[in-house]
Symmetry: C2
Subunit: 168 residues, 2 copies
DNA sequence: CCGAACTTTCAAAAATAATTGAAAATATAA
DNA sequence: TTATATTTTCAATTATTTTTGAAAGTTCGG
């Protein structure tokens, strides 16, 4: 298989994967392009590679920077900005987990905490079904939260740090 | 907070969470309704609760059954079908993980395996950047795959089974 | 077999999300 | 400062996804 062909298949698949995870296709594809690029790329090069508009590249690259997956570089003597992706896959994964935890898990936990204080007779079957489920999810989310935090911070920790190296 | 109010807020939030994870809102909301219901519900009751069409309920309930999150019940003497959700949150989580692994991780791994056989000089920087990234992701996905499999099958295993009980 | 009760299907409509592209804003070199 | 290169914004357009609803299909008691 030729490099060009392989690259475009990779970009394609990464785009599909992203969209199944609520990340828009262009954002995922930009990430893919930068992941397999051997050096930082300009907006124009990215537009050319994916055949999308300047505005689209601009917005999605900024989103990728927000997630901490992509960094901007200023090359002396050049007017344009260049972008590159963090290629350490473990770090990529933890950054994504961190963002999703922050944006999705945390707000859900907050809602669940409020909802566990529903008023009414605990012997009422409807009330019981509701509070039981909410509390179960709450407990589960609490564990997930802790586990994620450990994983995300694992590298900074001497014990888990060396344990996690096995995954790299 | 009143039960009705709490319920609808829960359904709402679960729907938002779902849509951020590539699951359509109605599917997630149906799941939410059944998670907090004290008994199995009919299509008509679900339509009423969420104010959506019969076709919509039908299709999404079937999807939930595909995922193994919801089961159909036939009540003797009743012509209608009733539905209920598995309320064991740990099992819910592993079922979702299993489905997503099967539908998303597995195909990605397949693509990556094919792509790692790209032809060309390994000293070419473009080729190297590509194969390095692909192989890193491949290795990572392999670990993720194994970990997920262990977690999903944990209950069937005497050692992990009792370990996992801590999470419940 | 009939007909009522219920479920399934799917083309069309509606809702939502992503993308464009050109104008406005900003940055830089001279 | 001015001219020019580059980035950013966002209303309008386009693409995608979801939902509807009515017709077709199925099931079942009598």
């Amino acid at each position: 298989m030729k490099l060009t062909e392989a690259k475009s298949e990779f970009i394609q698949s990464w785009g599909v994967l992203g969209s199944q995870w609520g990340i828009n296709r262009t954002m995922a594809q930009l990430h893919a392009v930068l992941l397999v690029a051997n050096e930082a790329m300009s907006t124009d090069e990215l537009m050319e590679e994916l055949q999308v508009s300047r505005g689209n590249v601009n917005m999605n690259i900024r989103e990728l920077m927000d997630w901490g997956l992509v960094t901007k570089h200023i090359v002396p003597g050049e007017r344009k900005e260049f972008f590159s992706a963090d290629k350490d896959i473990w770090r990529v994964a933890t950054k994504i987990m961190y963002q999703r935890k922050k944006r999705e898990l945390d707000p859900m936990v907050e809602v669940l905490n409020r909802l566990s204080e529903v008023e009414g007779d605990k012997r009422d079957k409807d009330v019981k079904a509701f509070t039981d489920t909410v509390n179960d999810i709450r407990k589960f989310a609490g564990h997930a939260e802790k586990t994620l935090t450990v994983v995300i911070k694992a590298e900074e920790n001497w014990f888990w740090g060396s344990f996690m190296k096995m995954f790299k």
